[in-house]
């Protein structure tokens, strides 16, 4: 059974219609004894990929490809790393992307697939002045 309703699919397809860059979602999971949310995440991603030919899902085995997980700072699963034209956007999603996280993922894909973060010029100016590493973790719930 599809997780996204026909209405959801129509809306998301519209949001994703203007992507100009290739967006790859690296999906870190494990096949044996993985969390049950990993299956939900996988299905959501596959349904999402069907809504835009600019979106590709690449599944990465969290257990067998430890080095790759470390490279992308993935320390828990399910995890999604958003890539733009093969480069890391430094945007990550941990847990099944349902509810609030789903909408955030769509926004991240739109940003990665375009050329503008959508932030105000004064915000961009402040951010451009950041010289030290900043690590943000935004906690959300499905509802």
């Amino acid at each position: 059974m599809a997780l996204l309703s026909e209405n959801d699919r129509q809306a998301v397809r519209g949001h994703l219609a203007n992507l100009t860059h290739r967006v790859t979602l690296l999906f870190f999971t494990q096949t044996i004894a993985g969390p049950e949310t990993a299956q939900i995440a996988k299905q959501i991603l596959n349904e999402l990929a069907g809504l835009s030919d600019k979106i590709t899902i690449e599944e990465v085995n969290f257990i067998l490809e430890r080095d790759r997980a470390a490279t992308y700072g993935v320390d828990k699963i399910p995890a999604i790393v958003v890539m733009k034209d093969g480069g890391d956007t430094r945007m990550r999603f941990f847990g099944a992307p349902s509810g609030y996280e789903f909408m955030s993922l769509i926004e991240a894909i739109i940003i990665a697939g375009g050329d503008d973060s959508g932030l105000k010029p004064e915000s961009k100016e402040l951010i451009a002045g950041v010289t030290k590493p900043i690590d943000l973790q935004v906690f959300v719930t499905p509802t």
């Binding site: 949310t37 430094r90 847990g95 996280e101 990665a112 932030l119 900043i134 943000l136 719930t141």
Partner: protein
């Protein structure tokens, strides 16, 4: 913000799936943003205030 700066990483974490982190950072309401493991930004803050809080955040990651 991560899109704008190579120095910024941003992760969206599903709080109910990672209870150890949720406890560690005392997440009792969402959204809650943890900056470099210590700073906290509660709620959906307007862009200007959010960006200012992040760029002036505490210790290095």
């Amino acid at each position: 913000m991560a899109f704008e700066s190579p120095n910024i990483r941003a992760a969206c974490v599903e709080a109910t799936e990672f209870m150890d982190l949720t406890r560690k950072y005392r997440v009792t309401g969402v959204p809650k943003t943890i900056v470099n493991g210590t700073g906290e930004i509660l709620g959906a803050v307007p862009e200007d205030a959010f960006v200012r809080s992040v760029v002036t955040a505490g210790p290095d990651a």
